[in-house]
C-alpha cells in the first residue's frame, strides 16, 4: 500500500505541531521518521491513525484520499500501529489479545478462540516470531509482547505498519531481533514507517529517511549518511557525538564495594556478591542488559533497597544501613534511571524540583521555612547554566521535554558538593543535543576529582564515558575491563560469557 501525506498541518492552539508535512511511503519500503522528542513525529502519526484531525492537508492511500474519524477507520483502511507502550491486556492470552476488538464469534456469540489461535500461529510461523498463542501476555518478555502487537496489526491485514519508538523499551538483542522482523515485513511487501531518534537504528534498516525538526520536514537523508550528518539535521546545528575527554587523573580509592548482596521484595537475589572499587576522578561504567541487577545496585548505593548485605564505603565511611537522606547528605549525587518516577515531581515547578533533596537545611531552608528568594535566585542561575529550555523557573517539570527534564535533575545533583556521582541511564529518552551536554557534565565531574558510576544499557554511551567497564550478568560481575575493550567482547560478556584470555583491570 502506498501512503502519501500532503501538507499535513496540525495546530494545538497557537502551537503548530505539524507544519505542512508531506511524505510518501512505498510498499516494501522502510521509511524512517527521524526527529528529536517533541519534533512532532508522534503527532503526525496520530493524525495518520485518525486520533487527531489535521487542520490542513490530506492523507492518501493507494491514490484515494482518506477521511479518518478514528483509529477504527485507519485500521479498516489497512494501517497498523505498534505503540511504544503496548496496548495489550496483561491477564489475557496472546490469542485473546489478538482478537480483542475484532472478535470472531460462533454460535450465540461465543468467542471463536480457535480461529484466533490459528491466526496467531500462522502469522507467527510465517515471520518466525515464536509466539505461543496461549501464553499470558504478562508472562512474556517485553520484546515478545511487542511481537504480539505486530501480530495484532498483521491479523487485521495491515499493509502499512507504523512503529512508534519501538526500541525504547527493548534490550540491544531484542532491538536486533526487531530490526530483522522489520526487514522480513518489508520483504513481504508491507510499507513501514519507523519513528525513532536513535541514529544507529535508522542507518541499520531505513530505505529512506525523513528528518523532522520543530514540526517541519527539514529534509530527506540517505541511509548512507553519517551519524554526524543525521544528528546535525535533527538538532539544526553541528553536534559532537563523541565525548572528548583526557586521560583520568586518578586519586585514592573512593568508593569501595565489597561482597554486596541485594534481595528484592519477592525474595530474589538481584545483586549477588558484587565487589568493585572506583577511584577519585574515575568513571566506572556498568554495562549489561537491562534487568541484570543494575537498578538494585544503584538503589542499594542510595539506601533505597531494604535487604542489603556486604559493605559500601565512601572515603572510608560505611553507607550500608544509612538512610537515603544521610547518604545524600554525605555527598552522593544520584541521577535515577527513570526521571519521571524517581527524579522529578512533575507537578512541581522547576525551582521546586531543584531543591527536592535539600528540603532539610540550608541553603533553601531556614528555621523550618522555605527561603523562596534564595531558591529563585539559584533556579534562575541553574536554568541558564544548564541551558534548560523553559519559559521560566515557574514552569512545571511535566511540561518540559525529556532532555530538559533530565537537565533539571543533573543541575540539582551537580550543584551540591559531591563526593560520588551515581548516574543511571543518564541520557535515556533524551534528545541528541542534551545527551552531548549531559555527557560533558559527567566528564567535567570526573575531571574535578569525583568518582562517577554510570549505569547504561547503551553500549555507545558506556564506551564513550568509561575509564573502566564493569559488565554485569544476573547480579554478578562478569569482568571489569578497560574502556577500549572491543564491542564484540563486551557484547559477549553481556550474555554472561567470560572470554578465556580476559584480564580484569584494577584501575
Amino acid at each position: 500500500m502506498r501512503l502519501v501525506l500532503r501538507g499535513i498541518t496540525k495546530r494545538f492552539g497557537s502551537v503548530v505541531a505539524n507544519d505542512s508535512i508531506s511524505l510518501s511511503v512505498e510498499p516494501g519500503e522502510i521509511h524512517c521518521l527521524l526527529g528529536e522528542n517533541g519534533a512532532g513525529k508522534s503527532t503526525l502519526m496520530n493524525v495518520l491513525y485518525g486520533l487527531y484531525k489535521a487542520d490542513e492537508g490530506e492523507i492518501e492511500l493507494d491514490g484515494e484520499v482518506q477521511h479518518f474519524t478514528g483509529p477504527g477507520d485507519a485500521m479498516a483502511a489497512g494501517i497498523g500501529m505498534v505503540h511504544q507502550h503496548f496496548m495489550l491486556i496483561p491477564v489475557f492470552s496472546v490469542a485473546e489479545n489478538v482478537m480483542l476488538g475484532n472478535e470472531t464469534t460462533g454460535f450465540a456469540g461465543t468467542l471463536d478462540l480457535d480461529a484466533s489461535r490459528a491466526r496467531v500461529t500462522e502469522i507467527s510461523d510465517r515471520f518466525g516470531f515464536h509466539v505461543d498463542p496461549d501464553a499470558l501476555v504478562e508472562d512474556l518478555p517485553v520484546g515478545v509482547q511487542q511481537r504480539v502487537e505486530i501480530i495484532k496489526a498483521l491479523s487485521r491485514d495491515a499493509e502499512l505498519l507504523v512503529f512508534d519508538e519501538p526500541t525504547a523499551v527493548l534490550t540491544p538483542q531484542e532491538t536486533d531481533e526487531l530490526m530483522e522482523i522489520m526487514r522480513q515485513l518489508k520483504e513481504a511487501g508491507k510499507a513501514i514507517v519507523f519513528i525513532t531518534h536513535k541514529l544507529r537504528e535508522v542507518r541499520a534498516v531505513a530505505d529512506r529517511i525523513t528528518v523532522i525538526r520543530l514540526g517541519k520536514v527539514v529534509g530527506e537523508a540517505e541511509p548512507t549518511a553519517s551519524n554526524a550528518e543525521l544528528a546535525s539535521m535533527m538538532v539544526g546545528r553541528p553536534v559532537e557525538l563523541t565525548v572528548h575527554k583526557d586521560a583520568p587523573t586518578l586519586g585514592a580509592d573512593a568508593l569501595v564495594v565489597k561482597d554486596l548482596r541485594v534481595t528484592d521484595l519477592a525474595g530474589h537475589r538481584q545483586v549477588d556478591g558484587l565487589s568493585f572499587t572506583i577511584r577519585a576522578g574515575e568513571v566506572l561504567c556498568v554495562a549489561g542488559v537491562q534487568g541484570n541487577g543494575q537498578t538494585e545496585l544503584t538503589e542499594a548505593l542510595l539506601g533505597l533497597q531494604d535487604d542489603v548485605s556486604g559493605s559500601i564505603t565512601l572515603d572510608g565511611e560505611e553507607l550500608v544501613g544509612r538512610s537515603t537522606r544521610r547518604i545524600l547528605d554525605a555527598g552522593v549525587g544520584f541521577i535515577p534511571e527513570d526521571r519521571q518516577v524517581d527524579g522529578l515531581v512533575p507537578n512541581f515547578t522547576i525551582a521546586e524540583n531543584l531543591m527536592l533533596n535539600r528540603s532539610f537545611k540550608s541553603p533553601f531552608v531556614k528555621n523550618g521555612s522555605l527561603r523562596l528568594g534564595a531558591l529563585r535566585e539559584f533556579a534562575q542561575k541553574k536554568l541558564k547554566e544548564y541551558d534548560v529550555r523553559a519559559r521560566d523557573i515557574d514552569s512545571l517539570a511535566a511540561n518540559l521535554s525529556g532532555g530538559n527534564q533530565q537537565k533539571v535533575v543533573v543541575a540539582r545533583e551537580l550543584s551540591r558538593e559531591l563526593r560520588l556521582l551515581v548516574a543511571a541511564q543518564p541520557t535515556r529518552g533524551v534528545d541528541v543535543g542534551s545527551i552531548e551536554f549531559i555527557h560533558k557534565q559527567i566528564v567535567a565531574t570526573r575531571d574535578s576529582g569525583i568518582p562517577v558510576l554510570v549505569v547504561s544499557t547503551e553500549l555507545d554511551e558506556v564506551v564513550a564515558l568509561a575509564d573502566r567497564i564493569m559488565v554485569l550478568y544476573r547480579g554478578r560481575v562478569v569482568g571489569i575491563v578497560p574502556a577500549d575493550t572491543p564491542r564484540e567482547t563486551l557484547g559477549l560478556m553481556m550474555t554472561g560469557e567470560r572470554p578465556k584470555d580476559l584480564k580484569d583491570v584494577a584501575s
Binding site: 494545538f12 517533541g38 503527532t43 505503540h83 537522606r325 522529578l344 507537578n347 521546586e352 523550618g368
Partner: protein, 421 residues
C-alpha cells in the same frame, strides 16, 4: 555549550488537553501520563480551578431550585392547569423558588424582615458559627489530600477529641486561662493520636488509609459510647442518658460578639488555623515535603524524604485539626455535655468542604463559610417555607457531584478544555 544562532521557541510549549485530562505530548512522557490517568480523578477534584467550583455551586443551586419547585404544593397545583392559565404556574414557580432562597438568605446572612440592626445581622454570625468547625475539619481533610491521603476518619477523630476535651471540660476546676487552652490542647493531641494511627499503619504496613480511617470511625464511636456509659469516664452520675455533665464555665469558648450572638472563639481559632495551614503548605519545609510526597512519593523517597514519616505526620496534623473541630462543638456550640452525636456529621461534611475548597486553605475558608451558610439558612428555610432541611444536603451532595465531573460542567457551560498547567 549550546550555541544556537537564533533564539529557539519554547521546546515544549503548553499543549491543550483533551477532555480526559490527558496531555497531548510525545511518547516520552506517556509513561507518566498513564500513572497520571489513574490518579487524575482525585487530582482534578483537588487541583481544579476556582471557576469550576463556583460553577458547580451554581449548578447545584439550580438543580436544587428544580427540586424545590417540583415538591412545592402550589407549583404542582398550578401545573395541572398550566395550559389554561400559565401565569399562575409561573407565579407559583417564582414564589416557591424565590421564597426558598430568600428564606435561606434571611437565615444565613441578613434578615431584612427585622428592624434592629443587631438582630438583622445575627444570621451572619450563625453562619460563621457553623463555618468554624467545617473550616477546621476541611483543613484536616484537605491537608491529607495534599499528601494524597484520603482522610475519611474525620468523624472518629472528632469523637475521640470531643470526648477528651469534654472530660477535661467538666472534670477539672481550673482558671479559664489554663482550663480552656488545656481542653483545646488535649483535643488536638487526642485527634492527632487517632489520625496518627491511620498514618502509622499506612507507613509501616501499607494499610490503605481509607479503610483504616473508616474502621477507626466505628472504633471511636463505640469507645465514646462505652465511655458515656461509665461514670468514672464521661457519664453524668445518676443520669440514664449516655451524656456527660455540662462543661464548666472556665472551659467554654467565650462569645466574641457579646452574649446576644452565639458566635464563639471557635471561628477565630478556625481563621488562625487557615493562616497556619497556608504557611505550612506554601512556606514551610514540612509542607514542601508533604506536597512532594503527595505528588510523587517515588521521587520524594529517592530524594531522602521519609515518606512513611511524612504520612504519619500529615495524618497527625489532620487529626489535630479535626480534634479542634470536635472541641469546637463540645466547648462552644453544644456545651451541655458530650454526646454521641457531637460530630454533627461535620467529619463528613469536611470532605465536601475540602473538595470544594480544592484543598487550599483559602479555598477551604470560602467553602466552609458557604456550607455554614447553607446550614444556618436551611433551618430558616424549613421553618418559614416548609422546605425540608434535607434539601441543603442534596445541594451539598450535588456540589461534590459536579466537582467530580469537571468535563460535564465544562460541557454545560461550553468552557474550553482545561489548559495544561
Amino acid at each position: 555549550m549550546n550555541d544556537t544562532d537564533k533564539p529557539q521557541p519554547d521546546p515544549q510549549p503548553d499543549r491543550p488537553e483533551d477532555s480526559a485530562g490527558q496531555t497531548l505530548t510525545e511518547p516520552a512522557t506517556e509513561d507518566r501520563q498513564q500513572e497520571e490517568r489513574s490518579r487524575s480523578v482525585l487530582r482534578e477534584i483537588v487541583s481544579g480551578d476556582a471557576m469550576a467550583g463556583v460553577l458547580a455551586v451554581f449548578l447545584a443551586v439550580f438543580v436544587g431550585s428544580v427540586m424545590i419547585a417540583a415538591t412545592d404544593e402550589g407549583v404542582r397545583e398550578t401545573a395541572s392547569y398550566i395550559t389554561a392559565r400559565p401565569s399562575d404556574f409561573f407565579t407559583a414557580l417564582w414564589d416557591a423558588i424565590s421564597g426558598a432562597y430568600s428564606a435561606m438568605f434571611r437565615g444565613s446572612v441578613f434578615n431584612y424582615l427585622l428592624t434592629e440592626p443587631a438582630q438583622q445581622w445575627r444570621p451572619l454570625t450563625e453562619t460563621l458559627k457553623f463555618a468554624g468547625p467545617l473550616i477546621l475539619g476541611g483543613l484536616g481533610v484537605g491537608l491529607a489530600f495534599r499528601a494524597s491521603l484520603f482522610n475519611i476518619g474525620g468523624r472518629g477523630q472528632m469523637l475521640v477529641a470531643g470526648g477528651a476535651a469534654g472530660y477535661v471540660g467538666f472534670q477539672f476546676d481550673l482558671p479559664t486561662v489554663v482550663h480552656l487552652p488545656l481542653a483545646l490542647i488535649v483535643a488536638m493531641v487526642a485527634g492527632a493520636l487517632w489520625g496518627g494511627i491511620a498514618g502509622l499503619l499506612k507507613a509501616r504496613t501499607g494499610a490503605h488509609e481509607v479503610i483504616v480511617t473508616i474502621m477507626l470511625n466505628y472504633v471511636a464511636y463505640y469507645l465514646l459510647f462505652y465511655a458515656l456509659t461509665k461514670e468514672w469516664l464521661l457519664k453524668t452520675p445518676g443520669s440514664v442518658n449516655p451524656k456527660s455533665p455540662p462543661m464548666k464555665e472556665t472551659a467554654i469558648l467565650p462569645k466574641v460578639l457579646g452574649d446576644q450572638f452565639n458566635l464563639h472563639l471557635g471561628f477565630i481559632i478556625a481563621l488562625v488555623a487557615v493562616g497556619v495551614a497556608w504557611w505550612l503548605l506554601n512556606r514551610s519545609t514540612l509542607g514542601y515535603r508533604i506536597r512532594a510526597v503527595g505528588e510523587n512519593p517515588h521521587a520524594a523517597r529517592a530524594s531522602g524524604i521519609n515518606v512513611g514519616m511524612t504520612y504519619t505526620i500529615v495524618m497527625m496534623i489532620a487529626g489535630s485539626l479535626l480534634g479542634l473541630a470536635g472541641a469546637n462543638q463540645v466547648l462552644g456550640t453544644v456545651t451541655s455535655g458530650v454526646s454521641l452525636d457531637l460530630d454533627a456529621s461535620i467529619g463528613f461534611d469536611a470532605i465536601t468542604v475540602a473538595l470544594l475548597g480544592r484543598s487550599k486553605p483559602l479555598g477551604i475558608l470560602a467553602a466552609g463559610i458557604l456550607f455554614g451558610a447553607l446550614k444556618a439558612g436551611g433551618f430558616t428555610m424549613q421553618a418559614s417555607e416548609n422546605i425540608s432541611v434535607d434539601l441543603v444536603l442534596v445541594v451539598q451532595s450535588l456540589i461534590v457531584l459536579f466537582l467530580a465531573a469537571p468535563p460535564l460542567v465544562r460541557a454545560i457551560f461550553r468552557l474550553p478544555a482545561q489548559e495544561a498547567k
